[in-house]
């Protein structure tokens, strides 16, 4: 055979074999598969398992991490480490990692994804603002993978996308949080139900917030009504009194009947002074 062809074959074979050879030196971890939490099976506990099958050097210890942060009280020295979620909820979902530390070698880890449908944990039920003010509607969620957010306006059963032709709507999205800001509220167009929708590869959820816009002049009408009522009452009372003859008013001051002398309460009151007799 041509010597160049032989050399090429050897190099190719070496490149093919290299991963296998080097893999022999790396620790191997046997990890459980990704789990999908569903809303119905929240009572079924979820167990994540990692088993260190081969390692060149003995490992020091192992622990679990969730979303890049170490979970407390998970450090053990066992090769086979288990993390148990007793009552899994949406916020138990995330990216879990079992990490093995070594004395003489870098850490080894394996990732297990626990996915769930997003669960909206915080939103305002209603927002009441005055005309011309700014409204802020928000939605908070838990769940992994992080959802994408959309806002819609709900009108009975029909959904319409938000019409931002006036440029007053601002949407800010972050991982598990979204905010809809409306500036300079318009009393005719803006009131209504707004829905925030969180969607990820597992499913979606939505919550609605009712936005009410109060007119600045609205309280004037009841106020004027009360004022009118008071003025009418005062006029009636004063006119009624003017129409009674002065004698009638004097008569009222006189005692109605015989002195009630049998009660000790007023027995002495009758003796109260008369100042200047007119």
């Amino acid at each position: 055979m041509h010597p160049n062809a032989v050399m090429l074959a050897v190099v190719l074979l070496w490149n093919l074999m290299l991963p296998f050879i080097s893999a022999q030196n790396e620790p191997k971890i046997n990890a459980s598969d990704q789990t999908i939490l569903s809303a119905e099976s929240t009572s079924k506990p979820v167990t994540l398992q990692c088993n260190l099958t081969t390692a060149q050097t003995p490992h020091k210890e192992s622990f679990w991490m969730k979303n890049g942060q170490e979970i407390t009280n998970t450090r053990t020295e066992q090769r086979n480490t288990v993390y148990r979620i007793a009552k899994p909820r949406a916020d138990d979902s995330g990216e879990y990692m079992c990490v093995y530390t070594f004395d003489m070698a870098p850490n080894a880890n394996a990732t297990i994804e626990v996915k769930a449908k997003p669960d909206i944990t915080g939103h305002k039920r209603s927002e009441n603002k005055n005309e011309g003010e700014n409204a802020m509607l928000y939605c908070k969620s838990v769940g992994y993978p992080h959802p994408t957010w959309t806002w819609r306006k709900v009108d009975g059963t029909s959904y319409t996308d938000i019409d931002n032709s006036t440029g007053r709507f601002f949407i800010t999205n972050r991982d598990n949080y979204t905010e809809l800001n409306i500036i300079n509220l318009d009393i005719n167009k803006d009131p209504g139900k707004y829905e925030c929708n969180a969607t990820n590869m597992i499913g979606n959820t939505a919550e609605t917030t009712i936005l009410r816009v109060r007119s600045n002049l609205a309280p004037l009408w009841p106020f004027l009504g009360v004022l009118a009522e008071i003025i009418i009452l005062v006029v009636i009372i004063v006119v009624y009194e003017k129409r009674k003859t002065p004698d009638d008013i004097i008569d009222d001051d006189e005692p109605v009947g015989p002195m009630k002398t049998n009660s000790t309460n007023n027995h002495k009151d009758k003796n109260i002074r008369q100042r200047n007799t007119k």
Binding site: P222, V226, I237, I249, V256, T264, H267, K268, I272, R275
Partner: protein, 459 residues
């Protein structure tokens, strides 16, 4: 002016028990609810203020403290103005001021504005309304005086029940500015209530003024002090009574502020604690009316009834922490109901005793001064109980001290002259300044006086 009657008694002395008096009771009902019922329900606005002005709850609570303090502080002023001018005009002015304060408050842009408008202006208005209206109603009744007062004061409890949801609705619908504007309009309803007061046939002005019409500094001062009834401050019965009521006021408000917190502290749920408070409020209303009706039956002297209600109230306040110590909800509920009944019962009688001591004529000024002096007690009592709670860690000491203040008030009232006699002594007779100087009795007073009692001044 009046027909000559045996003893030349004035019309207001025995008073028509009924007729136009009941219309005035209705007016007092409405105005009291718009003054005190409104004050008690302002809590809903405070939540909004905390959020809007970004201030602490304590800074916001000063608004109602200022309003209450202003109402009590300006009470003698209201009384004096009624003595000088016409009660009707004073009450109508007070109603306008109260409404104006709230209307201006709806335009407030900072917390100080609220202190000035809702606190000072409305408080001034309330002060000009409450004392004159109470005195006018009392002047229009003699036998049914306490019942009239009891019926009118029951409005405080009833309106607290009604105003809380109403204010909540107003705030939700119109925002706090709009709600305050509408409240200002509602407060103006005091004006027609004041218009119902019949114009005075007699004015105190001529009686109190010397024949000299040229205003000199001394005579003006003399007039002012007679309008304010400052001479009452030198009379032992009045001072004793005022002191007793002041001591009562130190402890009286403590359960209102701390009962709910104490119930929660004792381990009951929020709902149960609130229900205890509502039950106490309901029995308070019942107590006012029942005590008013019972007092007017005339079986006992008013001062004795007042002492009884105050002592019982003090005892029940002291029993409140004891009943909940055992953890029994029904015991706490029973004691709270009893406490509510007694505290309502004593409010009906407190004002009705004043004319017994100072006479119907000086009642207006007497009430004003009483309100002013007892205002200090209210300001002292609640912080003191809060301090005791902070120091001891629970409410037992606060309630014990509050109850003991009520009992102390009763003991003070026991030192009133003629306390232990079975019949009321005749109220003091007001003598004109000339007579006082010269030591003479006026003719009418000689005719009026009983054989045994001719002079009760300064006893």
């Amino acid at each position: 002016m009046t027909k000559p009657k045996a003893g030349a008694q004035s019309a207001e002395a025995e008073g028509p028990d009924g007729g136009w008096g009941w219309v005035l009771v209705g007016a007092l009902f409405v105005s009291t609810s718009l003054v005190f019922g409104l004050m008690r329900s302002l809590g809903i606005f405070f939540v909004e203020f905390v959020q809007y002005f970004d201030e602490s709850a304590q800074a916001i609570s000063w608004i109602s403290s200022t309003g209450l303090a202003a109402q009590q502080f300006f009470s003698p002023l209201g009384a004096a103005l009624c003595n000088a001018y016409d009660a009707r005009l004073v009450v109508m002015t007070g109603g306008c001021l109260a409404g104006l304060g709230l209307i201006l408050a709806s335009q407030a842009t900072c917390l100080v504005h609220l202190y000035l408008t809702m606190g000072v202006i409305s408080g001034l208005g309330w002060g000009l309304v409450f004392t004159p209206m109470v005195a006018t109603v009392m002047a229009n009744f003699t036998r049914r005086r306490t019942l009239a007062l009891g019926l009118a004061f029951s409005s405080i409890g009833l309106s607290s029940f009604a105003f809380n949801p109403l204010f909540q609705l107003l705030v939700e619908k119109y925002a706090w500015r709009g709600a305050l504007l509408i409240l200002g309009g509602l407060s103006l309803n005091i004006v027609p209530c004041g218009a119902l007061i019949r114009p005075q046939q007699r004015s105190k002005a001529p009686a109190k003024v010397d024949s000299v019409s040229r205003p000199s500094c001394a005579s003006v001062m003399h007039r002012v002090s007679s309008y304010l009834e400052l001479s009452l401050l030198f009379e032992r019965p009045y001072i004793t009574y005022t002191l007793g009521i002041t001591l009562l006021n130190v402890g009286y408000f403590v359960p209102y502020f701390h009962l709910v917190a104490h119930s929660r502290h004792a381990g009951f749920s929020e709902y149960q604690a609130a229900f205890v408070m509502s039950a106490a409020g309901a029995s308070d209303i019942l107590g006012r009316v029942a005590s008013g009706w019972f007092s007017d039956l005339g079986h006992f002297r008013l001062i004795h009834l007042l002492s009884m209600w105050t002592t019982l109230g003090g005892v029940f306040i002291m029993l409140l922490p004891v009943s909940s110590l055992s953890g029994s909800y029904s015991a706490l509920m029973v004691i709270s109901l009893l406490y509510g009944f007694c505290s309502g019962a004593l409010t009906s009688v407190v004002f009705a005793v004043v004319p017994m001591i100072v006479g119907v004529e000086r009642m207006m000024g007497g009430l004003g001064l009483l309100q002013l002096i007892e205002s200090g007690a209210g300001l002292l009592g609640t912080p003191l109980s809060g301090f005791l709670k902070d120091v001891t860690g629970n409410y037992v000491a606060s309630f014990m001290v509050a109850g003991s203040f009520l009992i102390l008030g009763t003991l003070t009232m026991a030192t009133l002259p003629h306390y232990f006699s079975c019949t009321d002594p005749p109220p003091p007779q007001r003598r004109s300044p000339d007579d006082k100087d010269k030591g003479l009795h006026s003719e009418s007073e000689q005719m009026n006086s009983l054989p045994s009692d001719t002079n009760h001044r300064g006893v």
